[in-house]
Structure formats: C-alpha cells, structure tokens
C-alpha cells in the first residue's frame, strides 16, 4: 500500500523508513543501539512537529486520506450495528450512514457523514457531501431513536453539503434548517463529535446536540479556508491565511466556548494509530452518555436551547 504523506510528515516518515531498513539488518549487524537512538529521535521529532501544528496543517490532518471515517469507528467501537437506509420520501443518501449500534452495553443511534477512500468509493459516497435526502434520512433515524429512547451520537466529517442542481430542487436549505429545528427539541441525549472536517451548514445539519466534541486534529467553521480565500482575497492562494483568520481548530473552538471538549489523538494523528483513537473515543462517548442519561428530557432541551443561545459575541 502506498502511503499518503503530508509535507510536514515527511521528515518523520523518512526516519521511520530508515528504522525499518535497519531492522532488516539487525540480526546480521550489531546495530540495536543505533536503532534505539533513531527511535528516540523520531519520537522527539513527532512530538515537536505535532506540538507546533499550524491551523492549516490541522486542516490537512483533518482531511488525511488515511484518517478513520464514520464506518471505521462503527467497526472499531460498536457491535451489532444495524444500518438503516433511506429518507422514506425520495432516496438513500450514501454520504450519510446511520443505524442502531451497541457500545459495550449501551444501545445508541449513530449517524455520520461518510467519505470514500478511493475514486470509486468517493463517487459512491459523493465525497461525503450530502444531498437533502441525507439530512432527511438522518432526521428520520433521530426521531426513531427518540421514540425508543436511545441516545444519539453524530459523527461530523464533510467538506460541505453538496452544491448541485438536484440538491437545490429538493431543498438542501430546508433539509438542513429542519434538522437544526428538530434536533433542538429531541427528547434524547445528543452527542456530536467532529471526527474530520466540519464544513459549515453541511456539518451543522447533524451538529445540534447537548455535548459538542472535536477530535484534536479536526476543523469546524462557517466556511472552508479555500472558499474563504477565494471570496475575501479573491484568489485560492490564501488558504493558510484564511485558516489562521477563521480560528477553526479544536483548541480555537474550545476557547471560543463553542465546543465542550477535545478528544486527544494519538501522537502523529488519528490515522497513525486508529485503534488507540477508537479506544479513546469510545471511552469518552460512554462517559458523556452516562452523564447525559441522568438529565430529564425537558431539562435537556432547555439546556440545549441555552447552550446555543449563549454562542455569539456582541456589545450593546
């Protein structure tokens, strides 16, 4: 398998490659000390690179083609996943997957954006860009969860809602708006986790909840750095500046009071060690569900209303 290496990952990758080569020679040559030295070095390098990530680098990590997606987490975290399809009106949107699943003994409804890994699966998943029927499927599943009193977990990972002719004909805006409206008054706990890209209304359409979490190397904002660059700088070349200006990383959003918690990623990013990532996420979700389960539905809805009501900065 050829690996996808980001520019700033390259020095780490080169060292790791060297270690692998040396290991092959280890039995014939006495070089284990050198290997140990190099391993220390790579660890140090990783630490320093990942401690000093720019916002744009985090955006790249959030989009890393080897990053775990919704279905990967379903596989690693849950048992007995029963996928449910279709909005009961028009179509089944492959850019959003959802269904009942069990995490340890906790039964939940999980819904998330789904990207593809290669050209073929990306076409099938529409690159994780939902159409209105996707949001309507998600809402149907959430109401089902409410009916049977199951907590809802949504996993956000989309470059945006799809901008197409059919999407507009079928009411992309209405579908997203309806989800915001209905999610705000669902009587079961909702935990939202940004696992990759949280692009604008396309992400928020699954993003109203009681607890909003972001994995450490993800982004969430009103627009992608590229589109922001093209509109405000009238050029695609200012994406790095746009990413800085938008303050769109997990630490940024925690500081802005928009998210509740950052879920730490393993050193090197989620794609570097998906199993550890999944374990951390699983433990976090179970912890959050346990807390939210104790809150009465009316109180939960009231808290949700105020949670979003408190977001915003203005003077009077």
């Amino acid at each position: 398998m050829t690996r996808n290496i980001l520019e700033f990952e390259k020095p780490i990758f080169e060292l790791e490659k060297k270690i692998d080569e040396m290991r092959k020679l280890e039995s014939s040559l006495n070089i284990s000390d050198e290997i140990n030295n190099l391993e220390d070095k790579v660890e140090q390098l990783k630490k320093s690179v990942f401690a000093n990530l720019t916002r744009w680098q985090r955006v790249q990590l959030a989009r890393h083609p080897e990053r775990p997606y919704t279905k990967d987490y379903l596989h690693m975290i849950t048992e007995n996943f029963v996928e449910l399809h279709g909005d009961r009106a028009y179509k089944d949107d492959k850019a959003i997957v959802g269904g009942f699943a069990t995490i340890d003994d906790q039964k939940v409804m999980i819904i998330g954006h789904q990207k593809g890994r290669d050209t073929k699966s990306n076409l099938y998943r529409n690159f994780g860009m939902p159409n209105p029927e996707g949001y309507r499927k998600a809402l149907r599943l959430m109401k089902l969860a409410e009916k049977f009193n199951k907590p809802i977990i949504t996993l956000l990972d989309t470059p945006g809602a799809y901008p197409g002719i059919k999407a507009e004909e079928n009411g992309q805006a209405e579908a997203i708006a309806r989800n915001l409206f209905e999610m705000s008054r669902l009587k079961v706990p909702i935990i939202v986790v940004v696992i990759g890209e949280g692009a604008s209304g396309g992400a928020l359409g699954l993003g109203v909840g009681d607890r909003i979490l972001m994995l450490e190397n993800t982004w969430y904002s009103v627009i992608s750095p590229e589109s922001c660059s093209s509109i405000l700088w009238r050029s695609w070349d200012f994406k790095e500046q746009a990413a800085e200006a938008l303050k769109l990383t997990a630490p940024d959003l925690l500081e802005q009071g928009i998210i509740d918690r950052i879920v730490p990623e393993p050193l090197g990013g989620a794609h570097n060690d998906p199993d550890t990532m999944a374990e951390t996420l699983k433990a976090t979700l179970l912890e959050e569900i346990k807390i939210l389960r104790k809150i009465k539905p009316d109180k939960l809805i009231d808290m949700r209303l105020h949670k979003f009501g408190n977001m915003g900065v203005y003077s009077e």
Binding site: I165, I176, R185, G201, V222, G312, Y314
Partner: protein, 283 residues
C-alpha cells in the same frame, strides 16, 4: 451628468437622495422606465411598468408593512464584537465601523414589535446593504430575542430575509447563529405561535438553511434568488450552465418550498389574510 440613477442593487431612498443631485428620479434597470421617487414610494418600490421589485431595506419594509408609528425597535444599539480579531484584506473591526458609517445601520437586521392592521407582531427585517446582509452574532442574537418577544407576548413572528448567508468574519460563531435561531423557532412552534418567513432577493446560504426556510408559511417576493449554495459555486461544481429561472422564487414554488409568491404591493394585505387563520379558535 445623468439626472437619473441606474439602480439594480442596494436601492434605498436615503442613498438615492444623496447621490442624485436633483434627487427625485430613478431609472428602472429592467424596463428603462424613469420613475419619480415619490411614485416609487407610493408603489412600495415596485416598477409600475414592468413589476421589477427594487431592493429596499428594513426602514422601507417597516413603512410598507407595519401600521404607521407602531414599530418599537429592540436592541437597536447592538453591535458586532470581533471575536476572532479577523483580518483578511481589511480588519473586520474597520469593516464594521466603515459599514456603520456608510449605511447608518448598526448591523444587518432591525428587530422590534409593531402592528399589522392593528394586530401586534414581532418583526425582524434584514438589510442587504450591511455586509451583504450577512448573519453574524448580532443578527442571530437580535432575531433570537425577537422570537423570545413573540414567545413571551404570545404574538406572531415575522422575519424578512435578505442575506448572502453567514458572516465569514465571525467563523464558527456565525455558523452557530443558525442553530440558535432555529432552536428558538422550535420553542415558538411548541407554544403554537405562528412564524411567517418572507424571502426577498437574495436569500442564500446559512440564512436560508435556518430561519428563512422554517416558516409555518414561507412567502417569496417575485423573482428573488433563493437557495442554499450560490449559483456561481454550483456552476463551478457541476461545470455546466444552470437552467433558466434556477433558484428563483417561481422555481422554489414549483419545487414546494414556498407557499406562495406575492407582489410587495399586496404583501401587507396577504399577511393580514394569513395571520387571521394562524390563531387558536376557541372550541
């Protein structure tokens, strides 16, 4: 010097009066008819010859729709903070300050309570002139509070949208205004109080994908651009020309997303008609 002003965008009586020396004549961009300002005002800023709806602001809508002197404005002084200390080619702070100076508005929405033919309503109207009618913290908060007013006083909520979408310079804060306003509308709906959304040219992006599409009744002005993604973005994505009339009011009516299209000159009467049904009859 031309004695009329060609005016397609951001029409407002105040700016016209300033920019045209003898001040009183406007040329319709669609049919070239030359119209006196007084005549325009009397006809709700609709061209009498071709029916073109000039873009107007909150001040004009308040005059057209609400009973004389009935409007009591709320949160008039609210201004945007600069939570991200956002800088693109210009500081957001400067952009705000300059726009306030240029438009005489503090942000892209005016909210308050007023009366429509004697019936009390909570009312919000956006202004495209203020950074493209973009929705940031101020728009979200003022609309949320207006909805609260409707909720507390048990009166209908009416919102006139005119917006390019969420305001980029406030990043995730802008995005969250969509959730904030939608959640308030859900509470209003649970209290069985009516919400009427009026969509005018243009209503796109996060504004459409939140309160503008959530009316018990959605009303569009004729020939308004209404959509989620902007036409330019869609064209870029699909690499094809867009069909004629795409994302116009008539297109939305045809696809089932607005209840009806009404001329601005008939809007007040139509609102009155609709509101007369949206209340709880005693059994």
């Amino acid at each position: 010097m031309k004695w009329f002003k060609r005016s397609k965008n951001n029409f407002s009586t105040t700016s016209i009066k300033r920019e045209v020396p003898d001040g009183q004549w406007i040329k319709c961009d669609t049919c070239n008819e030359i119209i006196h300002v007084k005549q325009m005002e009397a006809n709700s800023f609709v061209c009498e010859k071709c029916g073109y709806h000039f873009r107007i602001g909150s001040k004009e809508y308040i005059d057209i729709l609400l009973d004389k002197n009935s409007f009591k404005e709320l949160d008039k002084k609210m201004k945007s903070g600069d939570p991200l200390e956002f800088v693109d080619t210009k500081n957001y702070k400067d952009r705000i300050r300059d726009t306030i100076k240029k438009t005489g508005l503090n942000d892209a929405v005016a909210t308050g309570v007023g009366k429509i033919n004697g019936r009390k309503v909570a009312f919000a109207c956006m202004d495209f002139r203020f950074i493209g009618g973009s929705m940031g913290s101020v728009v979200g908060e003022k609309i949320a509070r207006a909805i609260d007013k409707a909720y507390q006083q048990k009166i209908p909520m009416i919102i006139i949208s005119q917006s390019g979408g969420a305001r980029m310079m406030e990043g995730a804060f802008s995005l969250m205004q969509m959730a904030k306003t939608s959640a308030r509308l859900a509470r209003l709906a649970d209290a069985k109080l009516p919400f009427i959304s009026i969509l005018t040219d243009p209503t796109t992006g996060g504004t459409t994908a939140s309160y503008a599409m959530l009316g018990d009744i959605n009303i569009a002005e004729p020939d308004a651009l209404i959509g989620f993604a902007g036409p330019r973005v869609i064209k870029q994505t699909i690499g094809k020309d867009l069909p004629k009339g795409f994302q116009k009011s008539e297109f939305l009516l045809e696809h089932g997303f607005v209840d009806f299209i009404v001329k601005r000159t008939e809007l007040k009467q139509k609102l009155d008609d609709v509101l007369s049904y949206l209340n709880q009859d005693a059994n």
